[in-house]
Symmetry: C2
Subunit: 206 residues, 2 copies
Amino acid sequence: MSEAAVERRSRLTPEREAELYTSTLDLLREVGYEALTMDSLATRSRCSKATLYRQWGGKAELVARALRHQKPVHAADIDTGSLRGDFHAMLTVEDDSRLARDFALMRGLAMAMHANPDLLRAFRELMVEPERRGLDVVLRRAVDRGEVRADNPALGYLMHMLVGAFVTRAVIEDRPPTVAYLTSYLDAVILPVLGVGPADDGPPAG
Amino acid sequence: MSEAAVERRSRLTPEREAELYTSTLDLLREVGYEALTMDSLATRSRCSKATLYRQWGGKAELVARALRHQKPVHAADIDTGSLRGDFHAMLTVEDDSRLARDFALMRGLAMAMHANPDLLRAFRELMVEPERRGLDVVLRRAVDRGEVRADNPALGYLMHMLVGAFVTRAVIEDRPPTVAYLTSYLDAVILPVLGVGPADDGPPAG
């Protein structure tokens, strides 16, 4: 996104921007990506179509920004003093109904990305990349504290592990991801592979 | 699947069955799941539609069995004497063009599963579950050899990790999975979390 686009968007109040993102996701859940139009969104949000295009450039960017905006917390804003605490803090703001709803939405969008390369690109640039950078901040702090070795090769696969845990449960277990499942995955896979042991345990035997 | 269905299928020679699976996947790649019909498949494979229905019951089961049949090797058949060796043996039979082709096919099928619950069910029963049972055999041997602790909580998430590695790269890195990527993921994430250290290394420091 250009500097000019940042400046143009800044003319909306944060409240108005939040309203627009909520309308976008509501409409997306109701009709799906293909049927979502800037016209219907303009009507729903009581905003001119010209404003929507001027502020976001298009449907793909607006949807990706709405997804990022609705995340209850961003990784980089969390700093509990330990990596285990940071990861668990990311999960405590979630709840199962929210996760199930997000999962259904993401499954629909994954299909839309297949047919709309501009959506895939916007999703990667405006949702995946900022999350990855946020996660890098959290991990760098853990390395600086000496919790994780700087050369741990799993550091390069954190996003794959997190996204993988979220997307694979439905096909493998026929259930959407829940807070209990993600917490268990975190404690069984993600923290151990980073060398962060159980909270109440010493180093593994053997 | 009923015992009777197993018996009925056994009337086809393995060669004829393999031909039918190849025709099914060829046609699937050409037209996609929705447009694939038992009629077109009967024509392609020079087989009566009645035979196809009698042998497989329907399109979803036929596609799921074709997918499983084309896997170059099944986990349970591999027994190299070490878990590291077994996992690497699963990857050495793959190549990048095959992985890219499989990935494109699976992405299309994942979309079809969303609209066709019978395909999701057949895929889970005839593809995911047998693979999971095969993997359990490999893991049980590793536990019996003392390579992996029987109470390692990551044992319950092996399928999630493997499937996750395969499906997440495209959205995170904009590249399909390759043999080099899967090998790196195996060495960086899967073997370490099972407590199997690098081939040439001692226990981690600290």
